[in-house]
């Protein structure tokens, strides 16, 4: 019988990689998730805990995929704590994906927003000149720097890390660096995923220079398929119309960068 992609399929965690003290990558085998497009996500059921939307992370081994989770509230902590041999349920993949452009590319990620960027890196052509910009609060929260360099080893590339406290790499906010980079260099495309304010500023900066820019939005998600409405951003449903939106579209959206909805669906300021 064909797998129902909207019904949780149980997979077993085969490897746990500690990326930072609060971020882990959980690797599993699956038929569907290893080949999803960059930007697509899964709904991840942690039995007895909750179900969370998670970007699908790449794995070095074929036939495998992963999730990279930061422990935060009870749900993400539940996922963070799943041991090797533990079982989780996955459904999806959901959402659209980044348009993979060619040429000079800028990928901007903050925290676990880097996850879709890693999958995007696995789609770049050897001729692309790629800049990866990653932000973190401090040194011990930096991850995927080595992975980025490895994925780009055949490309002209640079990986820039910035920390808010300057404990590693550049000091300051990622968005300041974005503004600097897009004013100095012409990029063919800018991609961003991370905290909404980072995405908002990145989109603004790139859009102002008329650079093609896409951001992957996060909203409260229940269904993942466009039924429940919990992920709505203005007239868009993040799960179905996105999660990836073009900068031009986003700059017309009244909620992007300003509001999100809580579990009851009430608009809250960022």
């Amino acid at each position: 019988m064909q797998r129902n992609l909207n019904h949780p399929t149980i997979v077993t965690i085969e490897k746990v990689i500690d990326e930072t003290p609060t971020v882990r990558t959980l690797v599993f085998s699956d038929d569907v998730m290893p080949t999803v497009l960059p930007g697509q996500f899964a709904m991840v059921w942690i039995p007895g805990v909750n179900e969370l939307p998670m970007s699908v992370m790449i794995s070095k081994e074929s036939g495998k995929a992963a999730f990279t989770v930061r422990k935060h509230g009870p749900s993400s902590t539940g996922l963070f704590n799943v041991p090797v041999g533990g079982q989780i349920g996955i459904r999806g993949p959901y959402g659209n994906s980044f348009d993979v452009k060619e040429g000079k590319l800028l990928l901007v990620g903050g925290g676990t927003g880097l996850v879709p960027m890693m999958r995007l890196l696995s789609f770049v052509k050897p001729t692309d000149d790629v800049t990866v910009l990653m932000g973190a609060k401090s040194k011990d929260e930096v991850f995927f720097e080595d992975l980025s360099n490895e994925l780009l080893k055949n490309n002209p590339h640079q990986v820039i890390v910035s920390t808010d406290d300057g404990s590693y790499g550049e000091k300051g906010f990622v968005t300041d660096l974005v503004e600097k980079l897009v004013s100095e260099t012409h990029f063919d495309a800018v991609y961003v995923c991370g905290p909404e304010i980072m995405m908002y500023k990145t989109v603004q900066a790139a859009h102002a220079k008329q650079i093609f820019v896409q951001a992957s939005l996060e909203r409260m998600m229940k269904c993942g398929v466009g039924i429940c409405g919990s992920c709505c951003v203005g007239e868009d449903l993040a799960c179905r119309d996105g999660t990836v939106f073009d900068g031009g579209h986003l700059s017309k959206n009244k909620e992007f960068g300003h509001f999100h909805r809580n579990k009851a669906g009430i608009l809250e300021n960022y």
Binding site: S75, V225, G226, C228
Partner: protein
């Protein structure tokens, strides 16, 4: 004469007969505008309560074999007052406000919140199968149904619709009580109480364990309810449950519905489903030589 897909459900006049069902995509006016532009004849809001509700933790929705969905969203909603403020600017979209509550006063209070809104109709959710003290627990209690419908009919001139479903009593009694108290129309049906268990982890998948089955699987059940109601009572009916194609919509018209609602089909076919169905209905009407929806309503009872 060119056929028209406009329809009247009692006093409720709609340009198009296919509505968005309650609880589906229904928390933002921007989305309502979009769905209306996509061909929905009206949008029914999420069921609103007197105060905001967070609903149940995830998992709250997933699909099952046969094209169905099971959900226990738990009636999460921003509350009637917040919601009313959000839709106040609305002029164009026919909005049907769905209300849920435990006592008549809840409904009375909420209707007041909408005094500055253009409300096409109120839909009283007497049939949610997975939240305690509201929904089916109300619908299965004839005394409460009587009190609630009477209160609502006193509180407003806007038409009121009772939404029924399969609970632990005969839903036809709920229909009959609501009619006696002056209800303007019936929506049939809500989701059917159901569950799914994951065999690997040996747990019910929904955090709430029980939820409601919607989509294709419940269509034959919903259709028989519409047929039963229309055979027994003279009341405008809105059919709901598993509708995803124009044939499905026509089946409900023939069974006695003057309009239909859909929800789950959006998960499969996205918002284009409204125009697809509208177009299919129109083609059918041309082929069969009908000029109004009304001519089709209840035809299957003649055979």
């Amino acid at each position: 004469m060119k056929p028209s897909i406009a329809t009247s459900i009692g006093q409720i006049q709609l340009d198009k007969p296919v509505m968005l069902a309650s609880g589906i995509l229904g928390i933002s006016l921007d989305v309502f505008n979009r769905l209306y532009a996509s061909g929905a004849g009206a949008v029914v809001t999420k069921s609103l309560s007197t105060v905001s509700w967070e609903g149940y933790p995830n998992p709250t929705i997933f699909s099952v074999k046969g094209g169905g969905w099971i959900n226990a969203v738990g009636l999460s909603n921003p509350g009637a007052s917040n919601f009313a403020k959000m839709i106040e600017p609305n002029q164009d979209v026919p909005i049907i406000v769905s209300l849920v509550g435990s006592v008549p006063e809840d409904f009375e209070m909420m209707i007041k919140e909408f005094k500055n809104c253009k409300v096409k109709a109120y839909e009283l959710n007497l049939s949610c199968p997975h939240v305690a003290k509201v929904g089916l627990e109300v619908g299965d209690d004839p005394g409460l149904v009587k009190a609630i419908v009477s209160t609502v009919k006193n509180a407003t001139d806007v038409p009121a619709i009772a939404k029924v479903g399969l609970g632990t009593s005969n839903y036809l009694n709920t229909v009959s009580t609501a009619i006696d108290c002056g209800i303007d129309a019936i929506t049939a049906i809500n989701t059917v109480r159901a569950m799914a268990i994951d065999v690997e982890t040996q747990r019910p998948i929904l955090s709430n364990k029980f939820g409601g089955l919607s989509g294709t699987p419940i269509k034959p059940i919903a259709l028989r309810c519409v047929y039963e109601i229309s055979s027994k009572y003279d009341i405008p009916i809105i059919g709901c449950g598993g509708i995803s194609t124009w044939e499905d919509a026509i089946e409900f018209f023939l069974a006695g519905a003057s309009g239909v609602q859909l929800g789950s089909a959006i998960g499969d076919n996205w918002v284009g489903v409204f125009d697809d169905i509208n177009k299919g209905i129109l083609d059918y009407m041309k082929r069969k030589n009908y000029s109004t929806i009304k001519e089709m309503v209840g035809l299957a009872k003649k055979s």
